[in-house]
Amino acid sequence: MTTKVLMKGNEAVVRGAIAAGCRAFFGYPITPQNEVPEYMSKYMPEAGGVFVQAESEVAAINMVYGAACAGVRAMTSSSSPGISLKMEGISYLAGAQLPCLIVNVQRGGPGLGNIAPSQSDYFQAVKGGGHGDYKMYTFAPWSVKEMFEHPSLAFEVADKYRGPAMILTDAIIGQMLEPIEIPEKIELNLPPKPWATTGAKGRGRNSITSLYIVPEDLERINLEIQANYKLATEREVRFQEFWIDDANLVLVAYGCVARISRTTMTMAREKGLKVGLFRPITLFPFPSKQLLELAKSGKHFLVVEMSAGQMVEDVRLSVNGEAEVDFYGRLGGIVPSPNEILEEVEKLLKPSLYQVMASAKTSTN
């Protein structure tokens, strides 16, 4: 049984998290994610969970740390400048191998920037962000439906591989309204957490720390964390392909830009241009293997992002010189239009006059 409802992305992520067994939320206001704590303050107590409006993002993520230590599915949400403040806590969560969920409804930066949609926190999300060798399991929804579904995926991965997970979204996905089908119940996969600090009743004490003074001990913990990343890279990669088989040019984009690029793809196909779309759904682990295979089959890539070029670096690393990778990006919170991307596609697919002349010259030689 499902119910069809019209809702905002920011509401869907709240409903999805609660349906996924999240029972603690700690947040601090920042636009464009304010609906997340607002809906949480209503729905979380109704679900028998805990809602606290913290005094800062720093406090909020540390409250998540405490609730995660107690073995509860806990989350926080924020937007870019607030996520920077959470980075201290996120590094500690990673170091202590604690599962939790952080939602980043990105806005324009750096600095105070603006409240328009952006994708310029990609590096911060997938490359660490805080100090130390760690990453976050990062999910990039492109619809309100996925805003509902991703919390459950993210919590599962966070629990299984024991570390913080992030939903990396933006002002468009957070603010847009779409009809979605809400299932009556989600099958929950809640693993036991024998390590949790819930009081030492019936067992020896548990302690949770990220402090390892002896370098060999700290290296061992780091290797454990890296081994989990490797496992997750083998098992948890998610992506979507559209019209890939016969495509010469493959657009690579995530989140709302992937949706816009899908429109560009359709427009290009109507013009007879063989364009496809590859959409990473997990940004870490990144679908590198799949992109390399496409590169080997002779595809040319155009990466489109609302950033100065962040994910494009991962695409280039993935294809490892086996394919040409071009980039188109808008900055400052500007959302590229399908037409604008189409112009880029046409530039790449139509050889320039210079190229035509050059190839004519070689063929006459």
């Binding site: 005094e55 406090a59 740390y65 405490g66 609730a67 107690a70 030492a200 949770i208």
Partner: protein
């Protein structure tokens, strides 16, 4: 033979890393004795600070969590809100609680979080080498106040009990010292009261313990205790600042 003195159950049988004459060890023991006497070992969760007592999680037999510098009250909030029937305490130094973590302690107090805070005031940053703390008293020499703390240049000390007592969410605020058997007994009584306040669900309870840091003060242990009595205690008066019914 009748045993008259032994290690509390809540205190681990390990060698602590403190300098000779440091009062952190006494404070640990008092917390452990109180946990034993209240019979709460199996439902207590302690939050460790950053500072000399960073290894507290190895010294206690209850569940323990290492927090980042200053954030223990926020971590404690997370634990206590999801496990309200457990006993949650933080153990924090003055740099931890009154400098980097000022916002966290004030807001945990304002929310009336039902937790207990053991606050060690040794008027310096012990672990990082004796720099000025928010509690360093005027005139006190530290590695970052070489001519003695001058409030005009370095600001004024923060008196934590006096600051927190007027906040509505606090239930019990007291300052004690660890310089003599009599003072240690009073300190233990205050710690016990603080935990009892939590058990009764009254709100945030905090005990500040005036402690010695012979190493960073450059004093032999006994002289350091004398210094606490003669120089520090007059600046930070002992006693109860708040006790709700």
């Amino acid at each position: 033979m009748k045993v008259v003195f032994s290690r509390p159950r809540a205190l681990s049988d390990v060698t602590m890393a403190y300098c000779q004459g440091c009062t952190h060890g006494i404070a640990h023991r008092l917390v452990a004795e109180v946990i034993d006497e209240l019979g709460i070992l199996e439902r207590t969760i302690g939050i460790c600070p950053v500072g000399c007592s960073v290894f507290l999680y190895q010294y206690m037999e209850c569940d323990m969590i290492e927090a980042s510098h200053g954030r223990a009250p926020a971590v404690a909030t997370g634990v206590k809100r999801v496990l309200p029937d457990r006993v949650v305490f933080t153990y924090q130094g003055d740099g931890d609680l009154a400098a980097i973590g000022t916002a966290e302690i004030i807001h945990a107090a304002a929310r009336g979080e039902n937790i207990t805070v053991v606050f060690i005031n040794n008027t310096t940053y012990g672990m990082t080498g004796g720099q000025m703390a928010p509690t360093t008293i005027p005139g006190q020499e530290t590695t970052t106040t070489p001519g003695g703390r001058d409030p005009i240049k370095a600001g004024n000390p923060i008196k934590v009990c006096e600051l927190l007592a007027p906040i509505e969410g606090t239930a019990y605020i007291a300052r004690a010292s660890l310089t003599s058997p009599a003072n240690v007994m009073k300190a233990k009584k205050a710690i016990k009261t603080a935990f009892e306040m939590q058990l009764a669900g009254k709100g945030l309870s905090l005990v500040e313990l005036l402690s010695s840091c012979p190493t960073q003060w450059g004093m032999p242990p006994l002289e350091a205790l004398k210094h606490v009595d003669e120089v520090i205690t007059p600046y930070y008066p002992l006693g109860e600042f708040k006790r709700v019914n």
